[in-house]
Subunit: 656 residues, 2 copies
């Protein structure tokens, strides 16, 4: 059988499987899957160098299915190749029987690519559209840095190509000359609700890709020879710096005319229609494969042998040591330093001690102080400038994580909102991603609300209330109050495998801790232990609470102060402390509600004990103010207001 006939025959076999598994599941997207049947066949059975029995082999080529809903075709091929899948104790070769479990509760085959549930062929969860190419670029960037001859193929839907993140990824790939990643646009012409916009037609996509600097090949996505030739061309060029892209004209529901055209998105045929589709696939097979001479087999080639690199990870130095090394002892003596600056130093020292650490920036490295990383010449290859494109930055981080790296992505905490969907997918992907948002809360003052992160604590906290695939919290949310905490928590994030988000803030603040202090995820620190009232705060507001404590002390109130630098935290320990403070708790935070206050309220309510809890947070949309004292007063979060509220809870009046 010729290569061409072999591919057609295989594509038809896989398409049959797609129809059957979606019919069994009663849902799924067989027609999308069928539109990439030839592309996936040539990739998985011929072009990709990979090992079905070791799908995560470190040098293996990768396939990122950005249009995750087309996943049945990959499941079908993987089962046919007896690829190894599963979770925990149940790791084994997949069979065609497994396909019939698609989307079931105890199946490893989720509705969309979901490696953490047992399909390790994929590097990350996809299905929320437009993210795949960025992930692929992250994997490719890591391969480049590691000197691996590894190709990353990414299939993107035409409708999906409308997502702005796709263009962010395309620009990123050109900026970094990542010719080892290949975007393949699957132009089947139909989105979910309608035909695809002319702006995503093959012609316009080709023009746009060329304009962005790509070498573009437009092919018939069901022509095995054309696919093979184009992929060969990519392989030849992949060591260079000139990225290439494929625009593939395809047919949604290829091989079965009765389910082609609009109206068949995400809708598996059943009954008579399924019968008809099967017959049409058979007829297509007869017409395409019989006339061709049988003289070639499909064969999978293995990847390069992986040599485990000698990686030396040493203990990073302390902030004291770092400052001495960098002639910054005057800062130590001055007693003030911004958390964002300490984060920068931590990144730099971490980079020197751990070759797995990567840093990603979105054109604000001189504000987040991620630029410190660039000050060490040896570290520059591991710094990836992503420009003003936060979505791409986070998903590139997911790709780096899949390649075994420890990526730190930082921007203004506000601008990270742009990438919440990507962060959520990172959590579902089990990524080892570290996210740092600077200028959080209201303390940046003058720039106004468009630059302030205010609902972010509530959002990240949602992930701290649930468990990930390993039983840990979906995410740690960290809010260092001083430079030592920021430094220590950066190191703690690197030690933890999983998604962490740290909030830093703009102003320089006084030291609270020193280099001997140990910061651990899930803990908090009792800064002052009193007996009348427990104040719980974090980040910048700890300093304002400290000032309030002085006022309260003058009024004869003996308050406790907790620096709740981590969510989740040890709720029992916190409530014990509250009980030693007559059950009076005041939470103080510089963001909207749903954050620390609600975390404490949840704990109180669940305990069943009686507490008196008052929450202070930002209760109105803030506006610009010239400095920190003004913004604190504007939001009613200055030391005086805190002290007044605390005293009122105890029925005492305080002077100003």
């Amino acid at each position: 059988m010729s290569f061409e006939a072999a591919v057609h025959a295989k594509a038809l076999q896989l398409n049959h499987a797609c129809l059957e598994m979606c019919a069994a599941a009663g849902s799924g997207h067989p027609t999308s899957a069928m539109s990439i049947s030839h592309i996936v066949t040539v990739l998985m059975y011929h072009t990709m160098r990979w090992l079905p029995d070791h799908p995560r082999y470190p040098t293996a080529d990768r396939l990122v299915l950005s249009e995750g809903h087309a996943v049945p075709i990959v499941y079908a091929a993987f089962a046919d190749l007896r690829g190894v899948f599963g979770r925990g104790q149940a790791i084994r070769p997949m069979t065609s029987e497994d396909l019939r479990t698609l989307r079931q509760n105890d199946s490893f085959l989720d509705g969309h690519p979901n490696p953490m549930e047992g399909f390790p062929f994929f590097d990350a969860a996809t299905g929320s559209l437009g993210q795949g190419l960025s992930i692929a670029a992250g994997v490719a960037a890591a391969a480049r840095r590691d000197g691996l001859r590894r190709h990353v193929y990414c299939v993107i839907g035409d409708g999906e190509a409308r997502e702005g993140q796709v263009t962010e990824a395309l620009d990123f790939i050109i900026d970094h000359g990542l010719a080892n990643v290949l975007p393949i646009f699957n132009c089947n012409g139909y989105g979910q609700a309608d035909a695809v916009s002319g702006q995503q037609s093959p012609e316009v996509l080709e023009r746009k890709l060329a304009a962005a600097g790509y070498t573009v090949r437009t092919i018939d996505g069901h022509d095995p020879s054309a696919i093979k030739a184009t992929l060969d061309l990519f392989a030849e060029r992949s060591a260079g710096n000139q990225p290439m892209a494929i625009v593939a004209r395809t047919v949604k529901g290829w091989g079965a005319p009765c389910i082609q055209g609009g109206g068949w998105h995400g809708k598996p045929p059943t009954g008579r229609k399924l019968e008809q589709a099967r017959e049409e696939l058979n007829a297509t097979g007869v017409s395409l494969t019989s006339a061709l001479s049988p003289n070639e087999q499909l064969r999978i080639y293995p990847p390069d042998e992986h040599r485990v690199p000698e990686v030396e990870v040493s203990e990073p130095i302390t902030l004291d040591e770092a400052m001495r090394r960098l002639d910054m002892t005057h800062v130590l003596q001055g007693g003030k330093f911004a958390t964002r600056k300490a984060y920068g130093l931590a990144l730099r020292m971490l980079g020197l001690s751990n070759p797995g650490v990567y840093v990603l920036d979105a054109d604000v490295r001189n504000s987040t102080f991620a630029e410190e990383f660039l000050k060490e010449k040896d570290l520059t290859p591991r710094f990836l400038e992503c420009r003003i494109a936060e979505q791409n930055m986070i998903s590139v981080g997911v790709g780096l994580s899949a390649a075994g790296k420890i990526p730190f992505c930082s921007s203004f905490a506000k601008f990270l909102t742009r990438a919440y969907d990507q962060i959520e997918m990172a959590i579902y992907s089990g990524a080892n991603l570290k996210i740092v948002g600077s200028h959080s809360g209201i303390s940046l003052a003058a720039d106004g609300p468009s630059q302030m992160a205010l609902p972010d604590v509530a959002w990240f906290r949602a992930f701290t209330t649930m468990r990930d695939h390993h039983g840990g919290p979906g995410c740690y949310l960290l809010q260092p109050a001083d430079a030592f905490a920021a430094y220590g928590l950066t190191m703690a994030m690197a030690r933890h495998h999983g998604v962490c988000c740290m909030r830093t803030f703009r102003p320089d603040v006084e030291f609270i801790y020193d280099s001997n202090h140990v910061f651990e995820l899930g803990r908090f620190e009792v800064l002052t232990e009193g007996r009348d009232l427990l104040i719980v705060s974090a980040g910048y507001m700890v300093h304002e609470c400290n000032k309030a404590l002085e006022r309260l002390d003058r009024a004869g109130i003996d308050a406790s102060l907790v620096d709740l630098y981590s969510i989740p935290f040890d709720t029992d320990a916190l409530l014990d402390l509250a009980n030693r403070n007559n059950g009076n708790i005041l939470t103080v935070e510089d963001n909207f509600g749903g954050g620390i206050g609600s975390a404490v309220a949840d704990a109180c309510a669940e305990s069943g004990d009686a507490f008196t809890l008052q929450q202070m947070c930002v209760r109105r949309i803030p506006k610009s103010a010239i400095d920190e004292p003004s913004i604190l007063r504007q939001c009613g979060l200055d030391a005086e207001s805190i002290a007044r509220t605390a005293a009122k809870m105890l029925g005492v009046a305080v002077g100003s």
Copy 2:
């Protein structure tokens, strides 16, 4: 003085003002502002038809400053033109004195464009980058529909053009032939941390714009005649369907070489440097304006007279009436209907009764049922298909709202995450935006977590804890449990001015209410009143709780059930009810924590009374399951688990 000299002179005057106001504020972005001084001068003093004493005049041309940090130049021009600004009682012409209040707590001049704080010249808050062009497109789309000869100019930074949303907006403008909006790319070559990527150079931007279908003119952005000629060309073509774009080569810190180049982003010169910059601006002025003959003045032209259209808003019909009209009485009799389907019918009936209602979709209109709107021929012009580009959809909605429309934007609730930054900016903009997310929570089952909205309740709830500029909640979060609630709450959203988000879900569910029931934002409904335990739930989970109630009843437990369809809600009323149930509360929701449970916990804790609260929510990353019963069991949220948890709270065992 010639036009050219007049523009130069004016630009220099405004640049002086930018330097002074930023120096006074001690922060701001004068060099970015100076890079668009000529463009803004030609626009605001010549090309734009507008009324400085009525900046929101309905037919006036609009300027959207997407790179919001460049706002000082607009403040300077507006003050020079004695534009009317302010809030509440303090509406008055602006003077140059006002410029010195930039960024102060009591100033109308926020750090970034912020119309709600008193600068009505702008339609929306900008400053979180990449959103302006979508907003401009929304204003332009409304003008087209209203038959207004109105031009919308949008200035976008070159670094900012990397944000994927900009390409989403560019595609949207072409799709809808909005030649009345003009994107102007300000290519000053410098971002914040670095020179701009080659991918956003004038040459590549020009190529990309042409590839996307724009007629592009690349000009010297400091050449008054070139600016004027290009804007004149735009005006000539604006009634057509072929959009145009300008790529302007500019100089960051134009006129003052000592603050040009890298390192001067967001950094106002002070002291000697300020002195030097002033001198350089003066010298630039001498060289540019003296040699030109004084024979032309800058003159602002007024907009077309606005005729208040005769808009007839009638009372929308009820769901019963709608179903009778559409031959759907069998559904009424069947007693089941999905909330998303009811939303679709509500949109359709609302559209017929209110000509201000617009509907925006992101290629899932057949899933959200927004497609119902398209079934009325009269409504199709008010349906804007945005394709798979949620960020652009939300910001277009903000633009429509600025033009007085009531936009409903819907997608899967999960995919709306993509646009959280845009939604946040909509709230800060005071937009009248309605957001509807379908397939929320876990009940869509088979598609898996990449399609489920899970932390969304926590996020939207953050905005319900604070107040907007009018004193109302920043947002209402609505979760209808049945078709009548979805229908009624859609109508309630339309009656309210502000941002509302409604969560619908996939499955058909039984009717709980009828057309006589009145749904109001901020309220809840007591479905069953018992005395042992209060169960609080919303949306899909109300049905599961109803089943749990039967089990509890059999175990002799007399539980109450509240449908908490709105957050915020009347906390006192809810706690009264809890007190009538021995203070026992069980919250049940199909999302991560931080949602209803925390809202109730906040209320309990703040009350100071003792309650026993237990929260049931999604405590692990969910995976696909074949149907609703399986996913509910997987997440421990099935009726049996609810009943068991409730009974355990009361120390009673229940059978299954």
